[in-house]
Subunit: 185 residues, 2 copies
Protein backbone atom coordinates (compact mmCIF):
# COMPACT_ATOMS: atom_id res chain seq x y z
CA UNK A 1 0.00 0.00 0.00
CA UNK A 2 1.52 3.34 -1.01
CA UNK A 3 2.10 5.87 1.74
CA UNK A 4 -0.10 8.93 1.61
CA UNK A 5 1.79 12.10 2.27
CA UNK A 6 0.25 15.56 2.27
CA UNK A 7 1.61 17.58 -0.64
CA UNK A 8 4.06 20.36 0.37
CA UNK A 9 4.90 18.65 3.65
CA UNK A 10 8.57 17.75 3.86
CA UNK A 11 10.22 14.37 4.09
CA UNK A 12 13.35 14.56 6.25
CA UNK A 13 16.21 12.08 6.34
CA UNK A 14 17.50 12.20 9.92
CA UNK A 15 21.25 11.68 9.68
CA UNK A 16 24.49 13.29 10.72
CA UNK A 17 26.20 11.87 7.61
CA UNK A 18 26.52 13.96 4.42
CA UNK A 19 27.54 10.89 2.43
CA UNK A 20 24.48 8.92 3.43
CA UNK A 21 22.30 11.91 2.69
CA UNK A 22 23.81 12.35 -0.80
CA UNK A 23 23.28 8.65 -1.54
CA UNK A 24 19.63 8.85 -0.49
CA UNK A 25 19.02 12.13 -2.32
CA UNK A 26 20.15 10.51 -5.58
CA UNK A 27 17.20 8.12 -5.24
CA UNK A 28 14.74 10.45 -3.49
CA UNK A 29 15.41 13.96 -4.89
CA UNK A 30 12.75 15.69 -2.77
CA UNK A 31 14.16 14.89 0.65
CA UNK A 32 15.80 17.31 3.05
CA UNK A 33 18.49 16.52 5.58
CA UNK A 34 17.60 16.84 9.25
CA UNK A 35 21.17 16.98 10.46
CA UNK A 36 21.04 15.43 13.89
CA UNK A 37 23.00 12.74 15.68
CA UNK A 38 20.18 11.61 17.93
CA UNK A 39 21.16 9.24 20.72
CA UNK A 40 20.22 5.63 20.03
CA UNK A 41 18.69 3.35 22.62
CA UNK A 42 20.41 0.12 23.60
CA UNK A 43 18.90 -2.82 21.78
CA UNK A 44 19.80 -5.55 19.32
CA UNK A 45 16.50 -4.90 17.53
CA UNK A 46 17.20 -2.40 14.75
CA UNK A 47 13.48 -1.62 14.34
CA UNK A 48 13.10 -0.77 18.02
CA UNK A 49 16.07 1.61 17.81
CA UNK A 50 14.73 3.23 14.62
CA UNK A 51 11.27 3.67 16.16
CA UNK A 52 12.65 5.45 19.24
CA UNK A 53 14.82 7.67 17.05
CA UNK A 54 11.87 8.62 14.84
CA UNK A 55 9.75 9.53 17.88
CA UNK A 56 12.59 11.74 19.10
CA UNK A 57 13.04 13.39 15.70
CA UNK A 58 9.33 14.09 15.32
CA UNK A 59 8.95 15.76 18.75
CA UNK A 60 7.54 19.20 18.18
CA UNK A 61 8.29 19.06 14.43
CA UNK A 62 6.09 18.82 11.37
CA UNK A 63 6.72 16.54 8.42
CA UNK A 64 7.56 12.95 7.69
CA UNK A 65 10.91 11.47 8.75
CA UNK A 66 13.08 8.52 7.99
CA UNK A 67 16.20 7.06 9.57
CA UNK A 68 18.53 4.32 8.41
CA UNK A 69 20.70 1.86 10.25
CA UNK A 70 23.18 -0.47 8.63
CA UNK A 71 24.35 -3.39 10.72
CA UNK A 72 26.50 -6.47 10.46
CA UNK A 73 25.21 -9.73 11.91
CA UNK A 74 27.51 -12.69 12.56
CA UNK A 75 25.61 -15.98 12.48
CA UNK A 76 27.91 -17.34 15.20
CA UNK A 77 26.90 -14.53 17.55
CA UNK A 78 23.14 -14.97 17.17
CA UNK A 79 22.22 -11.31 16.65
CA UNK A 80 25.46 -9.56 17.50
CA UNK A 81 26.95 -7.20 16.67
CA UNK A 82 23.82 -6.14 14.76
CA UNK A 83 22.97 -2.51 15.54
CA UNK A 84 25.77 -2.53 18.14
CA UNK A 85 28.41 -2.91 15.38
CA UNK A 86 29.85 0.53 15.98
CA UNK A 87 30.94 -0.41 19.50
CA UNK A 88 32.64 -3.54 18.19
CA UNK A 89 34.45 -1.40 15.62
CA UNK A 90 35.56 1.07 18.30
CA UNK A 91 36.95 -1.67 20.52
CA UNK A 92 38.09 -4.85 18.75
CA UNK A 93 37.76 -3.65 15.15
CA UNK A 94 37.94 -5.79 12.04
CA UNK A 95 40.73 -8.02 13.32
CA UNK A 96 38.73 -8.79 16.45
CA UNK A 97 35.64 -9.74 14.45
CA UNK A 98 37.73 -12.04 12.27
CA UNK A 99 39.19 -13.69 15.40
CA UNK A 100 35.69 -14.21 16.82
CA UNK A 101 34.31 -15.69 13.58
CA UNK A 102 37.28 -18.10 13.49
CA UNK A 103 36.79 -19.07 17.16
CA UNK A 104 33.20 -20.09 16.48
CA UNK A 105 34.25 -21.77 13.21
CA UNK A 106 31.48 -19.89 11.40
CA UNK A 107 32.16 -17.00 9.03
CA UNK A 108 28.56 -16.53 7.84
CA UNK A 109 27.37 -12.96 8.13
CA UNK A 110 24.54 -10.72 6.97
CA UNK A 111 24.81 -7.02 6.16
CA UNK A 112 21.45 -5.38 6.74
CA UNK A 113 19.98 -1.91 6.31
CA UNK A 114 16.75 -0.99 8.03
CA UNK A 115 14.95 2.18 7.03
CA UNK A 116 12.31 3.38 9.46
CA UNK A 117 9.74 5.80 8.04
CA UNK A 118 7.38 7.85 10.19
CA UNK A 119 4.51 9.51 8.37
CA UNK A 120 2.75 12.71 9.42
CA UNK A 121 0.14 10.55 11.14
CA UNK A 122 2.76 8.92 13.38
CA UNK A 123 2.49 5.59 11.61
CA UNK A 124 5.87 3.83 11.37
CA UNK A 125 6.93 1.43 8.61
CA UNK A 126 10.14 -0.42 7.89
CA UNK A 127 12.01 -1.20 4.68
CA UNK A 128 14.85 -3.67 4.71
CA UNK A 129 17.72 -4.52 2.42
CA UNK A 130 20.10 -7.34 3.23
CA UNK A 131 23.03 -9.19 1.74
CA UNK A 132 24.35 -12.58 2.83
CA UNK A 133 28.10 -12.99 2.89
CA UNK A 134 31.21 -14.09 4.74
CA UNK A 135 33.69 -12.61 7.18
CA UNK A 136 37.19 -12.72 5.69
CA UNK A 137 40.61 -11.36 6.67
CA UNK A 138 40.79 -7.63 5.91
CA UNK A 139 41.27 -6.88 2.18
CA UNK A 140 40.94 -3.72 0.12
CA UNK A 141 41.44 -0.01 0.60
CA UNK A 142 38.07 1.55 -0.19
CA UNK A 143 35.12 2.22 2.06
CA UNK A 144 35.15 2.37 5.84
CA UNK A 145 34.15 0.46 8.95
CA UNK A 146 33.83 -3.26 8.30
CA UNK A 147 33.90 -2.99 4.50
CA UNK A 148 37.29 -4.75 4.40
CA UNK A 149 36.07 -7.94 6.10
CA UNK A 150 32.64 -8.44 4.49
CA UNK A 151 32.46 -10.35 1.22
CA UNK A 152 28.94 -10.68 -0.23
CA UNK A 153 27.98 -14.10 -1.59
CA UNK A 154 28.62 -14.52 -5.30
CA UNK A 155 31.25 -11.74 -5.45
CA UNK A 156 34.92 -12.56 -4.91
CA UNK A 157 35.60 -9.12 -3.45
CA UNK A 158 35.10 -7.46 -0.11
CA UNK A 159 33.22 -4.14 -0.04
CA UNK A 160 36.60 -2.44 0.43
CA UNK A 161 37.88 -3.96 -2.82
CA UNK A 162 34.98 -2.47 -4.81
CA UNK A 163 34.75 1.09 -6.07
CA UNK A 164 32.12 3.14 -4.24
CA UNK A 165 29.97 3.08 -7.36
CA UNK A 166 30.26 -0.65 -7.67
CA UNK A 167 29.51 -1.16 -3.97
CA UNK A 168 26.49 1.13 -3.99
CA UNK A 169 24.97 -0.44 -7.07
CA UNK A 170 23.49 -3.34 -5.20
CA UNK A 171 24.16 -2.52 -1.60
CA UNK A 172 21.76 -3.38 1.19
CA UNK A 173 21.23 0.38 1.63
CA UNK A 174 20.22 0.83 -2.00
CA UNK A 175 17.78 -2.06 -1.76
CA UNK A 176 16.14 -0.51 1.31
CA UNK A 177 16.08 3.00 -0.23
CA UNK A 178 14.44 1.68 -3.38
CA UNK A 179 11.77 -0.05 -1.30
CA UNK A 180 11.06 3.25 0.47
CA UNK A 181 10.91 5.06 -2.88
CA UNK A 182 8.46 2.50 -4.26
CA UNK A 183 6.24 2.91 -1.19
CA UNK A 184 6.24 6.71 -1.48
CA UNK A 185 4.85 6.85 -5.02
CA UNK B 1 33.29 16.45 49.93
CA UNK B 2 29.97 15.31 51.38
CA UNK B 3 26.86 15.87 49.28
CA UNK B 4 24.43 18.41 50.65
CA UNK B 5 20.87 17.27 50.40
CA UNK B 6 17.90 19.29 51.62
CA UNK B 7 16.24 17.56 54.55
CA UNK B 8 12.86 15.98 53.77
CA UNK B 9 13.66 15.78 50.04
CA UNK B 10 13.70 12.20 48.88
CA UNK B 11 16.53 10.14 47.45
CA UNK B 12 15.24 7.75 44.80
CA UNK B 13 16.96 4.66 43.50
CA UNK B 14 15.84 4.35 39.88
CA UNK B 15 15.58 0.63 39.18
CA UNK B 16 13.12 -1.94 37.92
CA UNK B 17 14.74 -4.59 40.15
CA UNK B 18 13.35 -5.38 43.61
CA UNK B 19 16.44 -7.36 44.51
CA UNK B 20 18.79 -4.49 43.72
CA UNK B 21 16.56 -2.11 45.63
CA UNK B 22 16.52 -4.37 48.69
CA UNK B 23 20.31 -4.65 48.61
CA UNK B 24 20.70 -0.87 48.42
CA UNK B 25 18.07 -0.24 51.10
CA UNK B 26 20.03 -2.40 53.56
CA UNK B 27 22.88 0.11 53.25
CA UNK B 28 20.84 3.29 52.70
CA UNK B 29 17.64 2.86 54.76
CA UNK B 30 16.10 6.21 53.75
CA UNK B 31 15.88 5.62 50.01
CA UNK B 32 12.72 5.05 48.00
CA UNK B 33 12.39 3.00 44.85
CA UNK B 34 11.53 4.83 41.64
CA UNK B 35 10.37 1.76 39.78
CA UNK B 36 11.18 2.49 36.18
CA UNK B 37 12.96 0.65 33.41
CA UNK B 38 14.20 3.72 31.60
CA UNK B 39 15.68 3.12 28.15
CA UNK B 40 19.46 3.26 28.09
CA UNK B 41 21.44 5.01 25.40
CA UNK B 42 23.97 3.09 23.30
CA UNK B 43 27.47 3.60 24.60
CA UNK B 44 30.37 1.69 26.07
CA UNK B 45 30.83 4.48 28.61
CA UNK B 46 28.86 3.52 31.72
CA UNK B 47 29.00 7.08 33.09
CA UNK B 48 27.53 8.52 29.90
CA UNK B 49 24.66 6.01 30.07
CA UNK B 50 24.05 6.76 33.77
CA UNK B 51 24.07 10.51 33.16
CA UNK B 52 21.44 10.25 30.38
CA UNK B 53 19.30 8.00 32.56
CA UNK B 54 19.48 10.41 35.50
CA UNK B 55 18.43 13.35 33.30
CA UNK B 56 15.47 11.30 32.10
CA UNK B 57 14.50 10.26 35.64
CA UNK B 58 14.69 13.83 36.95
CA UNK B 59 12.49 15.31 34.22
CA UNK B 60 9.61 17.10 35.93
CA UNK B 61 10.36 15.39 39.26
CA UNK B 62 11.71 16.67 42.56
CA UNK B 63 14.32 14.95 44.64
CA UNK B 64 17.72 13.37 44.25
CA UNK B 65 18.20 10.22 42.19
CA UNK B 66 20.70 7.46 41.71
CA UNK B 67 21.11 4.67 39.19
CA UNK B 68 23.47 1.72 39.11
CA UNK B 69 24.95 -0.28 36.32
CA UNK B 70 26.98 -3.44 36.75
CA UNK B 71 29.09 -4.50 33.80
CA UNK B 72 31.62 -7.11 32.83
CA UNK B 73 34.73 -6.02 30.91
CA UNK B 74 36.92 -8.55 29.09
CA UNK B 75 40.46 -7.27 28.73
CA UNK B 76 40.74 -8.99 25.33
CA UNK B 77 37.78 -6.98 24.03
CA UNK B 78 39.08 -3.57 25.04
CA UNK B 79 35.91 -2.21 26.65
CA UNK B 80 33.36 -4.81 25.62
CA UNK B 81 30.95 -6.07 26.69
CA UNK B 82 31.00 -3.39 29.40
CA UNK B 83 27.57 -1.81 29.75
CA UNK B 84 26.46 -3.83 26.70
CA UNK B 85 26.82 -7.09 28.66
CA UNK B 86 23.08 -7.77 28.69
CA UNK B 87 23.04 -8.07 24.88
CA UNK B 88 25.94 -10.53 24.98
CA UNK B 89 24.03 -12.56 27.58
CA UNK B 90 20.87 -12.54 25.44
CA UNK B 91 22.73 -13.77 22.35
CA UNK B 92 25.89 -15.80 22.98
CA UNK B 93 25.55 -16.20 26.76
CA UNK B 94 28.20 -17.50 29.13
CA UNK B 95 29.46 -20.21 26.78
CA UNK B 96 29.99 -17.63 24.04
CA UNK B 97 31.96 -15.33 26.34
CA UNK B 98 34.16 -18.26 27.39
CA UNK B 99 34.78 -19.11 23.70
CA UNK B 100 35.75 -15.50 22.96
CA UNK B 101 38.12 -15.26 25.94
CA UNK B 102 39.78 -18.49 24.79
CA UNK B 103 40.07 -17.26 21.19
CA UNK B 104 41.95 -14.16 22.33
CA UNK B 105 43.99 -16.26 24.78
CA UNK B 106 43.17 -13.77 27.53
CA UNK B 107 40.76 -14.55 30.36
CA UNK B 108 41.32 -11.36 32.36
CA UNK B 109 38.10 -9.56 33.23
CA UNK B 110 36.82 -6.80 35.47
CA UNK B 111 33.39 -6.67 37.10
CA UNK B 112 32.43 -3.07 37.68
CA UNK B 113 29.52 -1.22 39.26
CA UNK B 114 28.99 2.45 38.53
CA UNK B 115 26.55 4.42 40.65
CA UNK B 116 25.48 7.75 39.21
CA UNK B 117 24.01 10.23 41.69
CA UNK B 118 22.15 13.37 40.66
CA UNK B 119 21.52 15.91 43.39
CA UNK B 120 18.64 18.38 43.58
CA UNK B 121 20.92 20.95 41.95
CA UNK B 122 21.44 18.76 38.88
CA UNK B 123 25.05 18.04 39.77
CA UNK B 124 26.05 14.46 38.86
CA UNK B 125 28.68 12.37 40.64
CA UNK B 126 29.89 8.82 40.20
CA UNK B 127 30.89 6.10 42.66
CA UNK B 128 32.62 3.00 41.41
CA UNK B 129 33.29 -0.46 42.75
CA UNK B 130 35.29 -2.97 40.78
CA UNK B 131 36.74 -6.45 41.13
CA UNK B 132 39.47 -7.97 38.98
CA UNK B 133 39.06 -11.58 38.02
CA UNK B 134 39.06 -14.27 35.36
CA UNK B 135 36.62 -15.78 32.90
CA UNK B 136 36.28 -19.51 33.54
CA UNK B 137 34.05 -22.31 32.25
CA UNK B 138 30.59 -22.08 33.87
CA UNK B 139 30.53 -23.38 37.48
CA UNK B 140 28.00 -23.08 40.28
CA UNK B 141 24.26 -22.84 40.65
CA UNK B 142 23.65 -19.58 42.49
CA UNK B 143 23.21 -16.10 41.15
CA UNK B 144 22.28 -15.13 37.62
CA UNK B 145 23.70 -13.67 34.41
CA UNK B 146 27.45 -14.13 34.15
CA UNK B 147 27.94 -15.12 37.81
CA UNK B 148 28.91 -18.66 36.74
CA UNK B 149 31.87 -17.58 34.58
CA UNK B 150 33.41 -14.79 36.71
CA UNK B 151 35.94 -15.75 39.35
CA UNK B 152 37.30 -12.81 41.37
CA UNK B 153 41.05 -12.80 42.01
CA UNK B 154 42.06 -14.42 45.29
CA UNK B 155 38.91 -16.53 45.57
CA UNK B 156 38.77 -20.01 44.09
CA UNK B 157 35.03 -19.74 43.43
CA UNK B 158 32.88 -18.14 40.77
CA UNK B 159 30.11 -15.81 41.95
CA UNK B 160 27.66 -18.64 41.20
CA UNK B 161 29.51 -20.94 43.62
CA UNK B 162 29.11 -18.44 46.50
CA UNK B 163 26.03 -17.97 48.63
CA UNK B 164 24.25 -14.67 47.98
CA UNK B 165 25.39 -13.42 51.38
CA UNK B 166 28.96 -14.37 50.65
CA UNK B 167 28.85 -12.80 47.19
CA UNK B 168 27.31 -9.55 48.42
CA UNK B 169 29.77 -9.14 51.25
CA UNK B 170 32.48 -7.73 49.05
CA UNK B 171 30.80 -7.31 45.69
CA UNK B 172 31.56 -4.43 43.35
CA UNK B 173 28.00 -3.23 43.98
CA UNK B 174 28.53 -3.11 47.75
CA UNK B 175 31.76 -1.19 47.31
CA UNK B 176 30.01 1.41 45.15
CA UNK B 177 26.98 1.63 47.48
CA UNK B 178 29.23 2.17 50.48
CA UNK B 179 31.04 4.98 48.65
CA UNK B 180 27.69 6.63 47.95
CA UNK B 181 26.68 6.21 51.59
CA UNK B 182 29.92 7.79 52.78
CA UNK B 183 29.39 10.75 50.45
CA UNK B 184 25.82 11.29 51.69
CA UNK B 185 26.70 11.68 55.35
Amino acid sequence: MPLRRAIHKMLYFVTGSRDKFAEAKAILPDIEQFEADLPEIQSIDAEEIARAKLEEAAKGREGAFFVEDTSLYLEALGGLPGPLIKWFMKTIGNEGLVTIAAAFDNTKATAKTIIGYRGEDGDVRFYEGSLEGSIVSPRGEHGFGWDAIFMPHGIAMTFAEMSNENKNENSMRQIALKKLKAALI
